[in-house]
């Protein structure tokens, strides 16, 4: 069975693209080693989209019409994923987005699925953590100015206000920013109880380090964007300690697949696995679950929709909702002594419901 | 002092200078005259090293310098007053003059020379700090000459010096060039203003279509009416 895959393997987004590719490759290996899907081995066909929507679209045609893949997986960001999704839907091939967060992706059509948690859901979980668990009253919010940050912040602010907290400071900053001292300086004046900062690991490392440098010691809440060992490596002098993040990957999980994944990944690629690679791994697992019930688009689709507590996934996948989003508990991890550790699990179904 | 042997230069398919041989003796002033496009500038530029000849050789006192880069030629005492008052436009008059003396290390020598040059062109002292690109046409010519003199040249290559200079200055400059003889400077001067230049030159070559068609002492050329008629258009 051929599975198509695209991700940015060159250009500024190459780091995430490579992680995604590695995760997907590992899943293929895992599945084939344990006998494949209904006895059929899987084959991954991948192309580099260079974070260019035009290339993502032409790849979609290539994968479907020349390579005849049965299902495609996006290891790319939102813009490319969304642009390609339209083509897959049009050509009648199911597509799974590994970690792109744009809320519209799954709305493209009935063949488009997502593995990562919907950003607004994760934002709500963050608010739940801040207000219900940590008891914050005054919250400062930093938003990275793309769809990821914007969606998270939207979910967060709605939920936080609903739970009775006050947003005392809110600002946007551009992707790739390294200089937060000015923003943090201003933020400090507003005396927040916690900071909710949407970021990827590179920006996150700067934020936590520069905050400590400026003498800001309130808890910082992050999300899956932080979920990379690189975050801890890049934030100097242990400044990442005590950071809380809401994510899908529980490294302390007792599930055997999780430990196998973390160990094999490290062995094979010489670098620790991150959230992106875990998502891509799971996307392949979801695809395999779909293929189990058949190879026509409709059969695959039904297969995915009928998933119940997927055992072979690294993150917890309970089931798919009718809008083709995952329903799963969200784990809160905390950085302690330079390592991510389990802190709490959020299971409140109202917070987690993607259909809300 | 300066010897050019069988030099040919072409730009792509156009032959600008064809098999030209000339020599300039020590402390001599030699003129190259000829119509527009005869190849005078090309020849001068080749001697200075702006253009590399396809054929032929160039010597300074028995050293072959044919295809040395200009800065090495400058070390042999060559200096140029280029066509059209080509000065460093974005630099000040002062910077231009100091660049003329780029190879001179002795500060007092530079200062003395500077004074000498100012005597010749008082305007340059007045405009010491002006950006050279905003000088008037004639002022640029003055600066170009002054800059060349600043380098204490042994062989001075001059291209079309009278262009754009007022009559009074043409006379003065010609006199100044003449007086270089006594200061141990050898001069090769390309010029359209035949009358003026033949007054100060010792010898002259006549160029036409890239060839040397005639040569002789300045007096000979001045008095030979046939030559004047057919080549110099006087």
């Amino acid at each position: 069975y051929k599975i198509g895959f695209f991700a940015p393997l060159t250009g500024w987004a190459a780091a995430d693209g490579s992680s995604a590719l590695h995760g997907a490759e590992l899943a293929i290996q895992y599945i084939n080693d344990s006998g494949g899907v209904n006895g059929n081995k899987l084959k991954l066909i991948y192309y580099d989209d260079a974070m260019n929507t035009a290339q993502a679209v032409s790849i979609a045609y290539k994968l479907v019409q020349q390579d005849h893949v049965l299902i495609a997986i996006s290891g790319s960001y939102s813009s490319t994923t969304r642009a390609a999704a339209g083509i897959y839907q049009r050509l009648g091939v199911p597509m799974i987005s590994a970690y792109a967060v744009h809320p519209q992706i799954t709305k493209t059509g009935n063949l488009i699925f997502r593995v990562g948690t919907l950003a607004t859901v994760e934002g709500r979980a963050g608010a739940y953590l801040a207000v219900k668990i940590l008891g914050a009253k005054r919250i400062a919010v930093l938003t990275i100015d793309n769809d990821f940050g914007t969606s998270l912040t939207k979910g967060f602010i709605e939920e936080a206000k609903k739970l009775g907290a006050q947003i005392v400071y809110s600002t946007k900053y551009p992707l790739g920013e390294t200089e937060f001292r000015t923003i943090l300086n201003t933020l400090k004046q507003s005396k927040p109880d916690v900071i909710y900062a949407t970021a990827y690991y590179a920006e996150a490392a700067h934020i936590v380090f520069q905050a400590k440098q400026l003498g800001i010691y309130v808890p910082i809440i992050g999300q899956e964007g932080y979920d990379s060992p690189k975050f801890i490596q890049l934030s100097e002098g242990g400044s990442s300690n005590d950071t809380l993040i809401t994510t899908d990957l529980n490294r302390d999980s007792s599930k055997s697949i999780v430990q196998w994944f973390l160990k094999t990944y490290k062995e094979k690629y010489g670098i620790a696995a991150d959230m992106v690679s875990a998502s891509a791994f799971d996307a392949v697992q979801v695809a395999a679950a779909g293929l189990k019930s058949g190879t026509t688009p409709n059969k695959i689709r039904e297969g995915i929709l009928s998933i119940k507590s997927l055992k072979t996934s690294v993150t917890d996948i309970e089931h798919y909702t009718k809008s083709r989003e995952v329903f799963r508990p969200i784990t809160v991890q905390i950085v302690l002594a330079g390592k991510f550790h389990f802190f709490r699990e959020i299971t409140d179904p109202d917070v987690l419901n993607p259909e809300r | 002092m300066l010897k050019v042997e069988n030099v040919s230069i072409s730009y792509g398919k156009i032959a600008a200078v064809k098999d030209v041989s000339i020599y300039v003796g020590k402390n001599e002033i030699v003129a190259i005259v000829g119509a527009n496009g005869a190849g005078k500038t090309t020849l001068i530029n080749t001697i200075m090293g702006f253009v590399t000849p396809q054929e032929g050789k160039i010597f300074v006192q028995d050293h072959e310098i044919t295809s040395l880069p200009p800065w090495k030629k400058a070390a042999f005492g060559l200096a140029i007053v280029p066509e059209g008052g080509r000065i460093f436009r974005d630099l000040t008059v002062k910077e231009n003059l100091f660049l003329g003396a780029y190879r001179i290390k002795d500060k007092s020598k530079i200062d003395n020379k500077m004074n000498e040059v100012f005597q010749m062109f008082p305007r340059m002292r007045e405009r010491y700090r002006q950006i050279a690109g905003t000088l008037s046409g004639g002022e640029r010519q003055m600066l170009a000459i002054a800059r060349a003199l600043m380098s204490f040249p042994q062989i001075l290559l001059i291209d079309e010096i009278s262009m754009g200079l007022m009559p009074k200055l043409v006379d003065e400059v010609m006199e100044a060039i003449h007086s270089l003889k006594s200061k141990d400077v050898t001069v090769l001067i390309a010029e359209q203003n035949t009358n003026e230049v033949l007054n100060i030159a010792d010898r002259a070559y006549v160029m036409q279509n890239g060839l040397i068609v005639m040569s002789g002492t300045a007096t000979e050329l001045k008095n030979n009416s046939k030559i004047k008629e057919s080549y110099l258009g006087i």
């Binding site: - | 008037s136 046409g137 010519q141 200055l169």
Partner: protein, 259 residues
């Protein structure tokens, strides 16, 4: 009473560059059909005056009238369209165009102000033959398909004049057209300019070649340090002690005999 018609009137025009007064309250007039020469030492302000007339610079003080209308403050292209053609002291033909194309540029004069630039082609036969005619007058017809920047300087000068003439100007400003030409070529140029002038085009000419000027000019205006120091017929000017002192130099005392 017959009033001599003036094509241009320059009225107390002054131009400063920072602290430097390049042109200092200069006034003079050019008559219709006249060939007036403007001379003066290097840096006297002659080229600056051209730039003031053509609108490249704006006068700091003073006014310039052309054909009865004030032109100071107008854009260069407007002034050119009103009928003033010019050449540049340092030649600037359109170097990457051919000689012919250079002359075709001004022939589009009447199209450049409206949308007919989109409908008229420079390749129309009438334009080409007109251009070739102008080139012929300038003895450039043999070179029509050469790149302008490859021409020797004398030809570039004539090309600039031909290009300016294609505007059908009433007044032509020539900035040192004879510089860098040998005597044969200057004679040729002189004929060319005289022919232009005899067609009724007024000419204002800057030139340092005294033989050339004295031969061709009907009247001369002399500038020095930005101010007008003399004005008159050639012989008058050439014997003016101030002009000799500042400009001609003593040797040229005999020059006035030539004139």
């Amino acid at each position: 009473m017959i009033e001599l018609q003036k094509i241009m009137k320059i009225d107390r025009v002054t131009k400063h560059f920072g602290g430097l007064i390049a042109v200092n309250s200069v006034s003079f007039e050019i008559l219709k059909g006249e060939l007036l020469a403007l001379i003066g030492p290097n840096g006297a302000g002659k080229t600056t005056l051209f730039n003031l007339i053509t609108g490249v610079f704006k006068p700091s003080i003073g006014k310039i009238f052309f054909d009865g209308k004030e032109i100071s403050g107008k854009r260069t292209s407007q002034i050119a369209r009103m009928g003033i053609g010019r050449t540049f002291q340092i030649v600037r033909p359109f170097g990457k165009m051919t000689v012919l194309e250079n002359v075709l540029v001004p022939l589009g004069k009447s199209f450049y102000t409206n949308l007919s630039v989109f409908s008229h082609s420079p390749r129309e036969n009438s334009s080409i033959s007109k251009a070739m005619e102008l080139l012929k007058d300038a003895y450039l017809d043999d070179e029509f398909d050469k790149m302008a920047s490859y021409l020797p300087i004398g030809m570039q000068r004539r090309l600039e004049i031909a290009r300016a003439l294609a505007l059908e100007p009433k007044l032509l400003l020539l900035d040192e057209p004879a510089a860098g030409l040998n005597e044969k070529e200057s004679m040729q140029l002189k004929e060319y300019i005289e022919k232009i002038n005899s067609n009724g085009i007024s000419i204002l000419l800057i030139e340092h070649d005294m033989k050339f000027v004295m031969n061709i000019a009907k009247r001369i205006v002399v500038l020095d340090h930005g101010s007008k120091i003399a004005e008159g017929v050639p012989s008058e000017v050439a014997s003016n002690p101030q002009v000799i002192e500042a400009y001609l130099g003593r040797k040229h005392k005999k020059g006035d005999k030539n004139a």
